[in-house]
Symmetry: C2
Subunit: 179 residues, 2 copies
DNA sequence: GCAGATCACATACAGTCAGTCTGTATTGGA
DNA sequence: TCCAATACAGACTGACTGTATGTGATCTGC
């Protein structure tokens, strides 16, 4: 039942967005009443958060599955980017995680949910990649900024941009840092 | 009166966010009634859009003011980033332009409003910077991705990140591309 | 095997909000 | 001076969120 609510909510959230999705529509799609919704979730935002958390966990798993510890840093980052774009190509995911999520839950909360996703892996890879004398704080900051670049690339791909070009541009940024 | 409504709306939008700001509160702060609001604006979103457009124009003007045509590409990009971070340091601006804006108006509409802002200048600079054999499509894509990095940096700065470190990381990305 | 408590919902209700419609005063031109 | 358009004000409606209450099933302790 919880799952049914999350499924129905996800379906409507990606179709109309959070604000334009009414709880009566969600429960109708799930085949229950609003009483069930407010029994399982504190409010509409809590339901949205449950949707987001499941989605973020799926993305993190996809990235994890695509990379392996034996890769060198550049390989790992490229493989991670491939896994990320694969995961983000699922329709509606970019809107959920990159548009409605930050606006509804706040950028800080989203960052907390996203822990152990793309950004964490990126940070590790960059620390190794930049170990030639530069400091670690720079690598952390670069992970944050590059992670934003990944996000916008995923958003661009969903609205028609060429994925191969996005991956090339990301690679250009990474290779520039390695030099 | 239009300006008074936009001012009041901006003040409440940055304080509570778009969804949590009620039109009765906006008109009360502006000292008018809801009739006035719906006389000047089609709906609440149109008022929000007016706020966003003024804000984006201010940012664009700040960037424009900080750069000059005689700079070389790297200088221009660094100066542009300085102007951008200056402009975005105005409280609430990051939330308006980077969180609520994309969620309420859509990423595509925001891109349209942002025309002639950071991303356009960036694109020009990158085209010159990369003119050593690489193609223009890559420069366009890099402008999109770097612009996302700028945005996240602005958001990070608002929530306490060190601005100098952000600028260093941006410079590292740019310098990597120039090599 | 039974009384009571808890869980998993359903239903009714109250408060609030967005958008519309109608009314009114003021202003500018013919 | 009259007319029309503009710039508001205020009431109204439908809808939505969250809450409070009711109800049947299930589980627990004895």
């Amino acid at each position: 039942m919880r799952q049914a609510l999350i499924d129905a909510a996800r379906s409507l959230f990606i179709q109309r967005g959070y604000a334009e999705t009414a709880t009566p529509d969600i429960v109708a799609l799930a085949g229950v009443t609003r009483g069930a919704l407010y029994h399982h979730f504190e409010d509409k935002r809590a339901l949205f958060r449950a949707v987001i958390e499941r989605e973020a966990a799926d993305v993190a798993a996809a990235i994890e599955a695509g990379t392996s510890p034996v890769m060198n840093p550049r390989e790992a980052i490229v493989a991670g980017s491939r896994g990320y774009f694969d995961a983000m190509s699922k329709p509606g995911r970019a809107r959920l995680l990159l548009l409605d999520g930050p606006a509804v839950l706040g950028a800080d909360t989203m960052r907390a949910i996203d822990t152990e996703t793309a950004e964490a892996s990126l940070k590790d890879g960059l620390h190794v990649l930049l170990s030639g004398g530069r400091n670690g704080a720079l690598a952390d900051m670069l992970a944050v900024l590059l992670s934003a670049a990944f996000d916008r690339a995923a958003l661009a791909i969903e609205t028609g941009a060429d994925r191969h070009q996005c991956e090339e541009a990301i690679a250009a940024l990474i290779d520039g840092l390695a030099a």
